[in-house]
Amino acid sequence: MKHPENLVYSRSHEWVKFIDETTALIGITDYAQDALGDLVFVNLPEVGDEVTSGEPFGDVESVKAVSDIFSPVTGTVAQINEDLLDAPENLNEDPYGAWMIRVEHITDKEELLDAAAYIAFYESEEE
């Protein structure tokens, strides 16, 4: 399982890629897609929606269950990855290529982990 060094991670298993101080791409981690299993449906917010750190902005559905996806940052949705709506399997096949939303005007964020800390976090959670 890979977790790129250039990203930061939330404890609810989302990754964040900061493009600049107040703009970021958000997706789900390799660990998350593996735990969820094959995804069959994705629900994303609309452009212009406000997202809040620690609150759900969308959900994904696998054959097992529906799971909320939490926003690690507070800001405005500038773009959504519409390809995912027709091809949710991209989240399984390429979790770090398949970003879900691009958020602008970020005013707040939760405490995020680097790759090593994230791996240590989920490994301790598994025990």
């Binding site: 097992k64 269950a65 949710p88 399997e89």
Partner: protein, 476 residues
């Protein structure tokens, strides 16, 4: 297997009507421009089609069916006998009330019995199933707050172990859903509940025993916390089988209840219905109940809409014959039989749990109610055998798998509800099967990965079915 459209050929058919002995009349301007595509099959082809379908299913008449949270108990045949009486089947919902007094009496008596069992004051039989009952119950809660101009109450609190239908029903009514976490004991975290309630709380939805099969001992405190905040309390009757005749939701502090007659009261279940999800309420909510309710009039009964009824949630009186079956069940068991059934359901679940817990880790320690949840997380981690593999393997033994991957708060969950209608011998056989599967998994996990091998179809491709759903037949 072939679809009905792929059987037979043009020219074949069933002759159901005698030859026409009156002049034929052409109907003016048909509403439908094109003739519907109907199958062309002879009577024996038709009969074979349904027999072949029946061979592919598994119901309580085929074998053990421990589907947690679903109460797949046996449906006594006497219920069918009662529901088939011509006085119940040969009626029309619009015929004059004085000609169907017996049927109105059934509606009244059944609702009185179910009110007694749940501790409610009035009940509607209109909702067709559980989630429909949830929606109806929430309609009552909304109507109550609206009637007091208390319109700032926009939130419904739901524990994270709840059935997915609870938050879905609340969302259908436009409520915001607030999910509160369960404590390590699997019960409601009282501290979190206190934080969640406020002047915006419309109500709380809860099952007790809850979705992990445990009776929440803090139930009186839970319902009073919600009441003190001005909210109402809704009891999801999915798990009533564990407590019927022993504890009443009304006495636990609940204001609204839905029942699943097709679970707790032994009417047929699954396969698309018809089900029945009556909703009972305390007297102060009765004025909002949907549909028509039987009330005394002129020495008999008539049907009348409550004063501030929310309207109808289904045509006429709901699935009436399901109510007849449930009433037959209650009358057959009687005052002693109803609680005895609940106690046996709890005993059967605990018996199985005790006989399996040395090899299948249980999600929660202690005594369970009518169902228990095991977690196969360790097994998956260590030997790569998942809850899904064990479930698929059970199929090869002619056993319907337990509920899988639910509740969501337990990883690799298998939720087993044996119900009271299974004998100790059956339980012992099933326990032996579970133990055999465990041994096989340890020796050669590949056998479980391959399962099932004896069923009509092996493992369906669930992912492809969800992503590329084919929902209807078409000619090309």
């Amino acid at each position: 297997m072939k679809l009905i459209f792929e059987r037979g050929k043009k020219g074949q058919g069933c002759t159901l009507l005698p030859p026409c002995d009156v002049p034929e009349v052409e109907l003016p301007v048909p509403m439908r421009g094109k003739k519907p595509k109907l199958p062309h099959v002879s009577e024996n082809e038709l009969s074979r089609h349904y027999t072949e379908l029946a061979k592919q299913v598994h119901g309580v008449n085929d074998g053990f069916y421990p589907l947690g949270s679903c109460t797949m108990k046996y449906n006594p045949k006497v219920n069918e006998r009662a529901a088939a009486l011509s006085g119940f089947t040969g009626i029309h919902p619009l015929q004059p009330e004085h000609t169907v007094q017996g049927c109105l009496e059934v509606l009244r008596e059944a609702s009185q019995m179910l009110c007694e069992i749940t501790g409610m004051d009035r009940m509607t039989m209109q909702p067709a199933a559980g989630a429909h009952g949830e929606f109806t119950g929430l309609l009552l809660i909304k109507a109550y707050h609206d009637s007091r101009n208390d319109t700032a109450r926009t939130k419904i609190i739901v524990p994270d172990s709840a059935h997915g239908t609870n938050p879905a029903s609340a969302a259908m009514l436009g409520y915001d859903v607030v999910s509160i976490p369960s404590g390590p004991d699997g019960c409601v975290d009282i501290g979190k509940l206190k934080e969640a309630v406020g002047s915006d709380t419309a109500g709380l939805m809860l099952t007790n025993p809850n979705t992990v099969g445990l009776f929440d001992k803090n139930i009186l405190e839970i319902t009073s916390i919600v009441h003190e905040a001005g909210g109402l309390t809704y009891y999801d009757g999915a798990n009533l089988n564990a407590v019927m005749g022993l504890v009443r939701p009304g006495d636990m502090g609940f204001d609204v209840v839905h029942l699943n007659l097709h679970k707790t009261f032994s009417t047929p279940h699954g396969g698309g219905g018809p089900g029945s999800g009556p909703v009972g309420c305390k007297a102060f909510l009765a004025e909002f109940l949907p549909g028509l309710l039987p009330v005394p009039a002129d020495g008999g009964l008539c049907m009348e809409a409550p004063e501030h009824s929310v309207g109808s949630v289904k045509a006429f009186y709901g699935n009436f014959l399901v109510v007849v079956r449930a009433m037959t069940y209650i009358l057959m068991l009687g005052r002693e039989g109803i609680p005895a059934a609940a106690k046996n359901a709890v005993l059967n679940a605990n018996y199985m749990m005790q006989k399996l817990k040395d090899i299948y880790p249980m999600a929660y320690d202690g005594t369970c109610m009518h169902e228990f949840v095991m977690s196969l997380e360790k097994m998956k981690h260590e030997i790569g055998v998942s809850a899904m593999d064990v479930a698929k393997s059970l199929l090869d033994y002619g056993i319907h798998p337990p509920t899988m991957y639910f509740p969501l708060i337990v990883h690799e969950a298998l939720m087993v509800e044996p119900t009271e209608t299974e004998s100790r011998e059956t339980l012992d056989e099933v326990i032996a099967v579970f133990r055999e599967i465990y041994e096989t998994a340890g020796k050669d996990p590949r056998i479980l990965h391959e399962a099932p091998v004896k069923t009509y179809i092996r493992r369906p491709d669930e992912v492809r079915a969800a992503r590329k759903a084919v929902l209807r037949w078409s000619e090309d």
